[in-house]
Symmetry: C2
Subunit: 569 residues, 2 copies
């Protein structure tokens, strides 16, 4: 491909709309353009990258026995009503009316459609297991689309759905998909982690997310430095050390005028925040629940939601808190709470000794309280987020680290969530009707493109992993419009490398060398070859790896050897 | 691929919902399934066919210099308001509101989006011409979706758009796209015709449709038996023979009580219908116009719309006609019409001599009228549909035939329709701002699949052209579940043929031979090879071409030679 023939509108300036590096570089390099909020057009260069992701995903899905189908984008409301999601799903589900005023939605996901398809065709256990997938345009009406491809409204997704008679069969397909995902992200050249994930409101059994590690990631990923434990912070646990018993001091009330924060309380009382039990009022399904945490711990809303089996959960406002507890905010405590409220404590908060907490009177706190002696032990659950450096919950010797990740894949054992609601049954070997059990498996295909950039860039532009690069080799013809020798040699090299199986971009534009080099760096092709009168006089090509800074002079044969460092593509 | 592993739910019965053969066979063969009215899921077998069409289309688009992009399905209303189509486009444009109540539509076509994209990036004549295309899901809210893939609501389309400074450049790209379309449909193995087409309300300059010939086609295609003239019936012309002058007879009025039809008029007056000038009242943009046609000719609404430069045109009701003309229907004529109405005659109606027409009085007709002598010549235009057997308008010696066609492609010189409305200009060589001129080029990718079936089927099922077949070779293992020899030989053959580059489907299901044969015939693979204990004992395979009825015994080498009749795929 010749750059003069390629629609590749690069930008010198970073567009003001773009915060994330990937968004900036994909716009600047002419990979994508914005049509409207959260809607992007893929330009030729970007589409080449997208197709490379698609191809690898497709190959690995086919390899593990999944079968490709293609379901409609537009889905009838009836199916979503049947599954119960028409009501449950928030405004991210774009609901539409057709000309006959029938209700439809733009599919953000296809559990209903695929369950409807298969319940009509699959009637016997002999037809199971089955695993179907599609690579398709999806729509999610984000309230504030941002970060370019990372959180767009229209996006490309690979979604797979498997159906089984028995849990063991689901487990086996789940493992196969897990392995396929591992191969996919490995082949894509991405540094990633598979982490245990929250199964959330869907109430599934087992779930892993695949995260591309990048500082800009929206998720916090917890992993053990020693063993293979890894989990989303939403879910991650740590092993808490046993606290040595302390000599119990006498409980007393201390005036703390105007002291409303944990930090101020610790400072005034000259104690560690770890010796404080703090209270947080949440509204679980709009009913107040008082949560207790150690003063230096952070409430994990996902864990609290799961512990309370709540459909929705939010922090209460100051007004709601004072009304529910009957105490000014800042002075609430679990001892002698004037109102009858459900109380749930984090395990960690129950191991604190000689602790301080609000006395349920304005400007007054307790110190030296003891669970059991001064107040009954509260019901306990895991409510806190782990912190880096804590001991691994799985192995004996590791400590936990935390990194940022971009979620690009998700495997999920749904169980009977949809098959039960939509009555998908098959006859088993004994002729009995049995509800099938299911799994679902997603990859954010367009998000992978952005995530790859977040992980692979420098101050000059993108550093595409070879498997994703829109072209493997970039040839820069210096002054090719003026030097017929350069033009001919560059053209010959282009044709030879294409014949050898490489995807080649020849920059034959009428531009200054500085512009040509900057363009090559920006669009991030792995290999750059310069053809100029100067190097031609020496009978060589000038080669540079995009990740390096050294130019080396190579003959054609040496260049081929250099490129063979990886597969042609 | 083994049939036991393939999700291919075939049906014995023809589904009641399906009228067209393609719809019936694609459902029965397990290629597609209906989700809702006009919405279809592509099952694995159907998706393989669709991808084959896509691949050939993509290769030929790339070959002729078009560049692939991918634009969003969801489009902002603002662009459609700018082009004027937000108002013009009827209820087939599915309009939606996002969560912020902003207006969008699901794209039935992308002229606005692509013009917006390119007007932001293209500023100089040096960046032209450019031709971009996409293969993408589109949506058109048909009032009565029917015929399966033929007229669905969600469908896959290849749409290309070219932009030029000069008409000559547009013409050259138009020719290149025409040639690419010809290669595409030829490679797909379809019997097709490119025909001149109406440029309609868009007011473009030149347009051709590509039709797959099939008896079920919705369009009538007129073509010359002698030269390459071919046009849609909406547009087709014929060369009318000169009428020999006749001796003028005296005009007179004849009572015709209750005679309201051309046929009854001819019978009562004992004249040919060709000697009658009939009247048709139409509402052009809701204003009445009286059209005159020869009695045996048929009004062509598209031609009338174009001749009157009307945005909309419809036949008037009886009430509207009688009110506008002041004469009972059946007795209206161009001579002494009591009301002042615009009158437009088909050329053919002006060559009739000694003609009969209504006398503008109930139960009374004229006979032996002559244009000029008895009434002034009306304004003339081409208003009639041509008939088979008429002389070709282009060559001297040919006569016209008419066949039915399914429109699968359309190339169109739009001119400045969108670039002017959306103000897309570039600087020309003299530094002057010039509005660009554009072309658009569509292929109904999913419709091609249905059209191919309409053209290639027999009473047992589909007869896929080789380029479209989901698999090239079908192997039937007879009693393979009971005979280890058959199973092993079939498996070996499957692997050998796959290694040789053929797409192979091995029917290894536990089914009776009759069911296996019926399935192979239904899904229409070009080559069938039977492996049974009987033929294995003779050291051969039993081969049959799907289009033939003879079984032949072939060795493996002979089989390879047989398959090589075409390219592996």
């Amino acid at each position: 491909m010749r750059a003069s023939q390629l629609f590749m509108p690069t930008l010198k300036e970073t567009p003001a709309e773009a915060e994330l590096v990937s968004h900036q570089l994909l716009l600047r390099g002419g990979f994508i353009r914005r049509l409207a909020s959260g809607l992007y057009t893929w330009l030729p260069l970007g589409l080449r990258v997208l197709r490379k992701v698609e191809r690898i995903v497709r190959e690995e899905m086919d390899r593990c026995g999944a079968q490709e189908v293609l379901m409609p984008v537009v889905q009838p409301a009836e199916l979503w009503q049947e599954s119960g999601r028409w009501e449950q799903y928030g405004p991210e589900l774009l609901r539409i009316h057709d000309r006959h005023d029938r209700e439809f939605c733009l599919g953000p996901t296809h559990e209903e459609v695929v369950t409807d398809l298969l319940r009509r065709e699959i009637h016997s256990y002999r037809q199971l297991p089955i695993n179907v997938y599609q690579i398709q345009t999806k729509f999610r009406d984000e309230i504030r689309p941002r970060f370019g491809l990372m959180r767009g409204r229209e996006f490309v997704m690979k979604d797979a759905y498997s159906f089984h008679l028995e849990a063991a069969s689901l487990e086996s397909t789940y493992e196969a998909m897990f392995a396929a995902y591992t191969r996919i992200f490995t082949r894509l050249g991405l540094d990633f982690r598979a982490v245990e994930a929250d199964t959330g409101a869907i109430g599934g059994k087992r779930s892993h997310e695949f995260h591309v590690l990048a500082d800009s990631g929206e998720d916090a990923i917890v992993f053990c430095h020693h063993c293979d434990y890894a989990a989303n912070l939403e879910l991650a646990q740590s092993r808490l050390p046993d606290e040595a018993p302390e000599a119990p001091l006498p409980a007393e009330q201390v005036p703390t005028p105007g002291i409303r924060s944990v930090a101020a309380q610790a400072e005034m009382l000259k104690i560690s925040t770890a010796r404080i039990v703090k209270t947080v009022l949440v509204m679980a399904d709009e009913k107040p629940v008082l949560l207790l945490l150690r003063g230096d711990d952070e409430l994990n809303l996902v864990k609290a939601t799961n512990a309370l089996a709540a459909k929705s959960l939010r922090l209460a406002s100051q007004e709601e808190t004072e009304e529910a507890c009957g105490v000014p905010v800042g002075f609430i405590g679990p001892k002698d709470l004037p109102r009858d409220l459900p109380i749930l404590a984090d395990h960690h908060a129950l191991t604190v000794q000689n602790f301080s907490t609000g006395a349920n009177v304005a400007d007054l706190h307790w110190i030296n309280l003891h669970w059991g002696r001064d107040l009954p032990l509260a019901a306990a659950a895991d409510l806190r987020s782990v912190r880096a450096g804590e001991p691994c919950p799985r192995c004996a010797s590791g400590t936990l680290g935390i990194r940022r990740g971009i979620e690009v894949g998700h495997v999920f054992q749904l169980g009977e969530r949809y098959s039960k609601a939509m009555n998908m049954t098959v006859l088993d070997e004994t002729g009995r009707d049995r509800t099938v059990t299911t799994g679902c498996y997603g990859i954010g295909v367009s998000r992978v493109v952005a995530a790859a950039v977040e992980q692979h860039f420098d101050d000059r532009g993108i550093l595409w992993p070879r498997a994703l690069a829109p072209f493997t080799v970039g040839i820069v013809a210096i002054n090719g419009r003026k030097s017929p020798d350069v033009a001919a040699a560059a053209e010959l090299l282009h044709n030879q490398l294409e014949a050898a199986g490489y995807a080649v971009l020849l920059d034959d534009r009428d531009e200054r060398p500085g512009v040509q080099f900057a363009t090559m760096d920006l669009i991030g092709l792995p290999h750059r070859v310069v053809v100029s009168d100067k190097v031609l006089a020496q009978g060589v090509f000038e080669y540079r790896d995009r990740r390096g800074t050294d130019n080396v002079h190579l003959s054609y044969e040496e260049l081929l050897t250099q490129l063979k460092g990886g597969e042609p593509s």
